[in-house]
């Protein structure tokens, strides 16, 4: 195969690359949350919430896999939804009078806010880019490919004979009048 030297245009846009970055970030964060939830709950003063963090980790992993798929749009929108849930959880931790790590929670909220903005930007771009069947619906009803009306073209290739190796294994079930096979009444052993 020939190898490349330089390139001028490509199919991967900035939003695709951003989605991939977010996908890998999701996978990394999700694995941390699932495997070591206390590393997150402790600095945020949220001890006891490990099961919830692990569930969030599973969600992040799912989003990460989706973001690395052929169409990352849904996964990135899922990340936006997940960000909202995470912000709500952190807001609750910030309101907790007994939380001694409120400063850390504030920093985490600021970081999460920035990531949310990035997710939202990416999702909006991808939504447009990956829009299925976007644009006008053209009328192709005049594109038959035949020189004459379809009915007069039906069977126009009747001069073609199906090669032996491509004939149907069984007689056509609907062939009519067609030959009929009479079942044998004698035992094949006789």
């Amino acid at each position: 195969m020939n190898r490349s030297h330089s390139y001028m245009s490509h199919s991967l846009h900035g939003s695709d690359r951003l989605a991939r970055g977010l996908g890998w970030f999701s996978l990394g964060l999700g694995l941390c949350q699932v495997l070591a939830p206390r590393k997150l709950t402790k600095p945020l003063g949220m001890e006891g919430f490990e099961p919830m963090v692990m569930a969030c980790g599973a969600r992040e992993i799912a989003c990460g896999i989706g973001a690395l798929s052929t169409n990352p749009t849904l996964a990135i929108w899922s990340r936006v939804g997940g960000d909202a849930l995470d912000l709500a959880a952190l807001a609750a931790a910030l309101r907790d009078k007994h939380n001694p790590k409120k400063e850390n929670v504030g920093v985490a909220m600021a970081a999460l806010g920035a990531v949310t903005a990035l997710d939202l930007y990416c999702a909006t771009k991808l939504q447009k880019r990956y829009a299925y069947q976007a644009g006008p619906t053209p009328d192709y009803s005049d594109r038959s490919g035949f020189p004459h009306p379809v009915d007069s073209m039906r069977g126009a290739a009747s001069d073609f004979e199906t090669p032996k190796d491509m004939r149907a294994a069984l007689p056509s079930p609907a062939k009519s009048p067609g030959p009929r096979v009479t079942p044998t009444t004698r035992s094949p052993i006789e």
Binding site: S11, P136, V150, R154
Partner: protein
């Protein structure tokens, strides 16, 4: 020269690469005048085909003028205008002599690897992974064509590129899919997928005399194009496929079913499609087989399933009980292009069909990478993209 190169999932680039050279006395170099993006190129684009390498030149639908020939090439000369079949064929091995050109025993230069994966290798293909030989593809300015004496279709100068380009793949693929059905005048032929191959399946089934041709898809403009060619359209977003087929066949089911979709079938509301998506994302399954399952279910007992759609590896939940108990015949395979091409050139030349009906976008090769996105997302009414180097 300039070419479209694969660099990973969703990543096709227009790049400068070294010009191809004669590597074997049986080679020819083609100056590409037209090439196209095939539906199966999207499987590469989505990285569902294994053994692609970064920088591989893609594309297997192309034609052009012979620029240079090797010392052993006898049937071609510089200046000849040819369409190149996507299957590379030696013309001498046992399979080629039987007409099974897509199973050529010599043209896959990575035969050892393919033997391990498939049990026995098929033919070499242009621009379609190292498993099929690792040959540079045709979405480029120039291409090296191995076994050039056999791997070409000579076309009359009276026909335009647009009329003959698809002789290299999608027209004979649709034709072979219909021929494999052994169509009788009383048959109902149902085609899943109204993409470019599906469109040629429709025309081929009509030409071969099927009483009723039905096409299933959810893209309105593709359904209208299929309807123009003589098909009864079923939009699976709007009506029940099973119910409509029962109605059209008086409750007996179609005799002949064609899968022109392959490994990336997507029916969002179908539970088995969701199941396949999840498994495919987790690398627990290669292919999404919704169409296969539906074909097996709806086909009339004793009927034929013809599968031109590309599959890459393992699929899950195939109802073998239905297949066996209904005594269905399954026919599949890459297309034996050379087996049909002379006959199809004659049919185009006679005016029986004009394959250019399917072209919706014609752009420069440089715009190719973006057209992969447009084609994949079925935007802007895109059915078939032709690229001009």
């Amino acid at each position: 020269m300039k070419a479209l190169c694969w660099h990973g999932k969703n990543d096709i680039r227009y790049e400068t690469v070294p010009d191809p050279e004669i590597e074997d006395p049986r080679d020819a170099i083609i100056n590409v005048s037209s090439c196209a993006i095939c539906g199966s190129d999207l499987h590469l684009f989505h990285h569902f085909m294994p053994s692609m390498k970064s920088g591989d030149i893609v594309g297997h639908e192309f034609m052009g003028e012979v620029m240079e020939v090797g010392s052993d090439v006898k049937k071609l000369k510089v200046g000849d205008r040819v369409v190149v079949p996507f299957t590379i064929t030696c013309g001498e091995c046992d399979q080629c002599r039987r007409g099974n050109f897509s199973l050529c025993e010599r043209s896959n230069r990575n035969k050892a690897m393919a033997d391990k994966v498939f049990g026995h290798a098929g033919a070499g293909l242009f621009g379609y992974s190292h498993l099929t030989g690792g040959y540079a593809g045709g979405q480029a300015e120039y291409v090296r064509v191995p076994f050039a004496d056999e791997t070409h279709i000579q076309v009359p100068d009276t026909l335009t590129d647009e009329q003959v380009l698809f002789l290299g793949d999608i027209f004979p693929t649709g034709w072979q899919a219909a021929v494999q059905c052994d169509i009788e005048p009383t048959d109902t032929v149902v085609i899943w997928g109204a993409g470019p191959v599906g469109q040629f399946c429709v025309r081929s089934a009509v030409l071969l005399g099927a009483q009723q041709v039905v096409v299933i898809d959810n893209v309105p403009e593709r359904l209208s194009m299929a309807q123009a060619g003589g098909a009864i359209p079923i939009n699976f977003d709007e009506e029940s496929v099973l119910g409509r087929l029962q109605e059209l066949t008086h409750g007996k089911g179609p005799e002949k079913c064609i899968d022109a979709v392959g490994l990336e079938s997507h029916v969002p509301r179908s539970p088995d499609s969701v199941y396949d998506r999840v498994k495919q994302s987790l690398w627990m399954e290669n292919d999404r087989a919704h169409v296969l399952r539906e074909m097996i279910y709806v086909c009339r007992p004793g009927g034929v399933l013809s599968i031109p759609g590309v599959y890459s590896g393992m699929v899950d939940k195939i109802p073998m009980g239905q297949l066996m108990n209904k005594a269905l015949s399954v026919r599949s395979g890459q297309t034996h292009v050379r087996r049909w091409s002379d006959d199809l050139v004659r049919r185009i030349d006679d005016g029986q069909i004009d394959p250019s009906f399917v072209i919706t976008h014609s752009v420069s090769l440089e715009d190719g990478p973006e057209m992969y996105n447009v084609f994949r997302n079925k935007q802007d009414g895109c059915v078939k993209v032709v690229l001009k180097p």
